[in-house]
Symmetry: C2
Subunit: 480 residues, 2 copies
C-alpha cells in the first residue's frame, strides 16, 4: 500500500493541469469546464471526449492518453461502466488524482457496484493514482481557481469544508458565502473510496490556509482512526461536525446515498464530544457556526444586551437566549435614563419604547438616534455582547414606501459603526423574509453587514443556538 499521508493530496488541490472526461456534449462535464473557466483556473484545461473537436475554444482530446502534456487531475463525468477504462488510461498517463463525479458504485447496494469500487481502488493503489469520490462534486480551491460552482467566490478565506454530499457541498459554500464566509478549500468526497474524511481532516490540520474546519459526514469506515485524527485536529483548530444518518431510517438513506455506514447515534454523540468537536444538525447550522467563529469575537461572558424592533419579537429574543443559557440582566435605572436621553431628541412620544433590556426601538426612526442608543448600550460594562434583531417584513408596515422601511438601514448602520468604535462583540439577526421585496432588502442589508465583518444570523432561535455553541466551545477550552 502506498503512503497515504496528507501531502499526497497536493495533486488534488494544486494541479498544474486538469482534464475533464465526458465533456463532449452539453452536460455535467461542460458544466465543470465552465466552472474552471469562470473561476479563473490558471493551469492547462483539457476537455476529453471520443467526439474530439473543440468546446469553449479548447481542443477536445479523445482520451487522456492523447493529451500532449502532463495531466495532474482528471474530473471524471463519464458513466460508471467507463470508469475502469478511464482510470487505466489515467494510470498509463501518470495522472496523479481523479475526482469522480460519476456515481453508480457502492451506493447501489448490489454486488456489481461493490465490485466496480474494488476494481477502481485496486487499479488506483497499484498505479499511485488518488481517487476522490466516486459520487462527489470534487474540489473548490479558490486560490488556484478550482471550483464546482461558477458562482462560488473567487476569494479565499480561512474555513475548510469536507462534505460527503455533493448537494450539501454546493449549498453550504453558497449559503456561507452570502454570510461573508470565504473558504480555503472545500471538498466533496462522496463514497470515500480512497481519500476519506480522516485523511482530509489530517490534511486540514497542517494546511496553513485553514483556520477552522466544518464537516458533513454520513459515515466512517475506520472509527478509531477518525477519532484520533479528529482529536488531533480539534487540538489546534475548531471543528464543526454535522453527522447525518442519526436515525435507523436515515442510516438506510445514507447507505443508499454514499454507501456510508452511519453507526449508532449515541456512539457518535459521545465520540464527537470527547474529541472536542462541535456537533450541529444541519448545513445551515454549519454556516451559523462558521459565522460565529469568523466574525463574532469572544465575549467575556454570557450577559447579553438585546435591542431591535418589535415588542413581541423582543420577548422572543429574551426567551430564546435565556433558553440557550445566556444571561439577560435587567437594565439598571441609570442606563435606562441615559438611553432615554439619547432617544428623546428624535421622538415626540415616550410610548412604544422598551428600555429594560430588551431595548425595543421600533418607533425610533432616526439614523443618529440608533447610533447614539447603541453606542450607549455597547459601552455599558454590564453587557458582554449585544444582539439585535430586525424583522424585514415588518419594516414594510404600514407601507413599503413609508416610515419604517428605512429602519433596517439605521439599525444595521448603527451596529456596524458601534462595533467598530467599541470593539464589543455585536451580532445582528436579519429575519422574517416573505416576499421578493423582503428578499431584496435582506440580501442588500446582509451584504452590507458582511462587507463590514459584522456577524449576521437569519432567525432568532438559530442565532441563540449558534452563539451558545460558540460560547460553550470557548468555556470548555477555558475550563469553565
Amino acid at each position: 500500500m502506498l503512503k497515504r499521508n496528507a501531502d499526497t493530496l497536493d495533486s488534488l488541490f494544486n494541479p498544474g493541469s486538469v482534464a475533464i472526461a465526458g465533456a463532449g456534449s452539453l452536460g455535467i462535464g461542460q458544466a465543470f469546464l465552465t466552472c474552471l473557466l469562470d473561476s479563473g483556473y490558471k493551469g492547462k484545461i483539457y476537455p476529453l471526449s471520443p467526439k474530439g473537436g473543440e468546446v469553449m475554444g479548447l481542443t477536445v482530446y479523445p482520451s487522456v492518453t492523447d493529451v500532449p502534456d502532463a495531466v495532474d487531475l482528471v474530473i471524471a463525468c463519464v458513466p460508471a461502466r467507463l470508469a475502469i477504462q478511464l482510470l487505466r488510461d489515467c494510470a498509463a498517463k501518470g495522472v496523479k488524482a481523479v475526482s469522480f463525479y460519476t456515481a453508480g458504485f457502492g451506493e447501489r447496494g448490489d454486488e456489481q457496484g461493490q465490485d466496480l469500487e474494488k476494481d477502481l481502488l485496486r487499479i488506483a493503489r497499484s498505479a499511485g493514482v488518488r481517487i476522490l469520490g466516486p459520487n462527489c462534486v470534487g474540489v473548490y480551491h479558490p486560490r488556484v481557481g478550482l471550483s464546482f460552482s461558477s458562482d462560488n467566490p473567487r476569494e479565499s478565506g480561512a474555513a475548510a469544508l469536507i462534505c460527503q454530499s455533493g448537494g450539501n457541498s454546493i449549498y453550504t459554500v453558497r449559503a456561507a458565502a452570502c454570510r461573508g464566509i470565504r473558504f480555503s478549500k472545500a471538498v466533496s468526497y462522496g463514497n470515500a473510496l480512497d481519500i476519506d474524511e480522516s485523511e482530509l481532516l489530517a490534511y486540514f490540520r497542517q494546511d496553513s490556509e485553514t483556520e477552522l474546519v466544518a464537516a458533513y459526514i454520513e459515515g466512517v469506515k475506520d472509527g478509531r482512526r477518525f477519532y484520533r485524527t479528529l482529536r488531533e485536529l480539534t487540538a489546534v483548530k475548531p471543528v464543526i461536525v454535522f453527522k447525518a444518518g442519526r436515525s435507523e431510517a436515515g442510516a438506510r438513506a445514507a447507505a443508499s446515498h454514499t454507501s456510508a455506514l452511519a453507526g449508532s447515534d449515541g456512539v457518535w454523540d459521545r465520540l464527537l464530544h470527547q474529541a472536542g468537536a462541535i456537533r450541529v444538525e444541519s448545513t445551515d447550522e454549519i454556516v451559523d457556526m462558521l459565522v460565529a467563529f469568523s466574525y463574532l469575537g469572544v465575549p467575556r461572558g454570557r450577559r447579553i444586551g438585546v435591542w431591535g424592533g418589535g415588542g413581541g419579537l423582543s420577548v422572543m429574543m429574551l426567551d430564546e437566549f435565556s433558553g440557550a443559557g445566556f444571561l439577560l440582566p435587567a437594565s439598571p435605572p441609570r442606563l435606562q435614563q441615559e438611553v432615554w436621553e439619547e432617544v428623546r431628541p428624535f421622538v415626540n412620544t415616550d410610548a412604544g419604547f422598551i428600555l429594560n433590556n430588551p431595548f425595543d426601538l421600533t418607533t425610533l426612526n432616526s439614523a443618529e438616534g440608533h447610533y447614539r442608543v447603541l453606542k450607549k448600550l455597547a459601552s455599558h460594562e454590564g453587557f458582554d455582547l449585544m444582539v439585535g434583531q430586525v424583522s424585514i417584513n415588518n419594516s414594510g408596515w404600514p407601507h413599503k414606501d413609508f416610515g419604517l422601511s428605512v429602519w433596517p438601514d439605521y439599525f444595521t448602520d448603527a451596529a456596524i459603526r458601534v462595533r467598530s468604535e467599541t470593539g464589543k462583540p455585536v451580532a445582528v439577526i436579519i429575519h422574517s423574509v416573505l416576499s421578493n421585496w423582503d428578499s431584496d432588502r435582506a440580501v442588500t442589508l446582509q451584504q452590507k453587514c458582511c462587507d463590514a465583518g459584522l456577524p449576521v444570523f437569519r432567525s432568532i432561535p438559530s442565532a441563540a443556538r449558534a452563539m451558545d455553541r460558540f460560547l460553550r466551545y470557548h468555556e470548555r477550552r477555558n475550563g469553565i
Copy 2:
C-alpha cells in the same frame, strides 16, 4: 358591570362606520385610513383631527362629536395624554368600541400608566364603550374590509388569530397569507385592558366564520377563566397557542411590552396540554400549524414516503421525520422495481437515484417522469402520506439557466396533480432560499402550490415538527 359576553364584540368586528382619531397629518392615523380604503371597507369613514380640512378625499372632523352620523368604531391614534378626552367624546357620541393603537399605559410600568388605564376602563364601563388594546393594531376582518395592513388579503378564510403583539399580528397574517391561509378575523389586543384573550376565544367558539383558532399570548390576568374558555373552545375547534414570556427575562420583556403577567412556564405547559391546545414556539410555527390543519388532510397513520432532490437532503428528511416520531418504511423491492420502470424511459443512467424510501429523483429531469413516479408512490398502500422536498438554491446548479432549474416545477406540478388524483395526503417543503433569484423562484412555486391547496412548508425540521403536532392532535382525539 355591563354584560361582556361575546355578542357585544359585534360592534368591533362589524362596525357600520369607523372614525380614525389622529388622522390629521402623515402618520399612523393616515396609514390606518389607507388600510380601510385599500381593503374595501363598505361603511362610512371619518378621519378626525383638530386641523379639520380634507384627507384622501374625506372630510376631517375636529372631534368624533362633530361627526354628523353615528360612529360605531373609533381607531385611536392619538397620544396617550389625549386618550381620556377622546374616550369621553366617544362615550358622549354613543360610539360602541374604541381600538387604541395608542400606547403608553400599563406597559410603562409606572403609576401614571396604571392610573391612565384605570381611568380609561372606568369611563368605558360606565358608558358601555368597549376598548380593544390599548397598544394594539386592532382588527382585520376581510369580509367587511377592516384591516391593519394594506396588503392583507381581501378574501376571507376559516382561521382566526388573536395576538397580543401588534408586530406579530402583522407578520403572522402576512406569513400565513403567503402559504395560502385566509382569515375569518384577526385581532391584535395589546394590553387587554377590557376585551381580553378569554372573551375573544369565547367569541371565536361561536363564530360561524371560524374553524380553527391561533393565539399569541404574553400573559393572562384570570387564569381560571382562560382555562375554562380555552377548554370549551378546543372541544369544538383546533386551537394553536404560542405562549411567550417563558423565561424570567422574557416575562420581564412581556410586562414592558403589554403589561402582561407571564406566569410560570411549567404551569402554562400543563394548562395548555390539559385544555387540549397545541403549543408552539414561534409565529412561524403558528403558520405551519394553520397550513397543516387547512391543507394536509388527516393521514391514516404515520408511515411516510419521502421524495425529492438531493442525497444529503434525503438523509436529513429521514432523520428529521424519524426524530419527530414518524415511520419511514423501506420500499419493498417490488415497489422499487415499479418505480424504476417509471423512471427508466426518461434517463440514460441508473446512477444517482435512491429508490429505497427516500426516493431521490435529482437526476430525473422530466415532467412526465416526476408525475409517474409520484403517482406510483402515492398509490402505494404502505405510505399514509407523501412528503417531498426541493432545495431552491441547488436547483440553480450547475447553472441557473440550465438543467435543474426547471426541476422544481416538475416536482411541484407532480405533487399538485397526484394529490388531486389520488386523494393521498401530500406535502411539499420548498427550502434553501439564498438569493433574489431563489426568492423569486420560491415565491412563484409556493403561490402555485397554495392556489392548488397543496400544503407548503419552508424547512425540513419545521415541516417534521408541524406534521407531528398535527398527527398528535388527531391521535389524541382518537384516543391513540
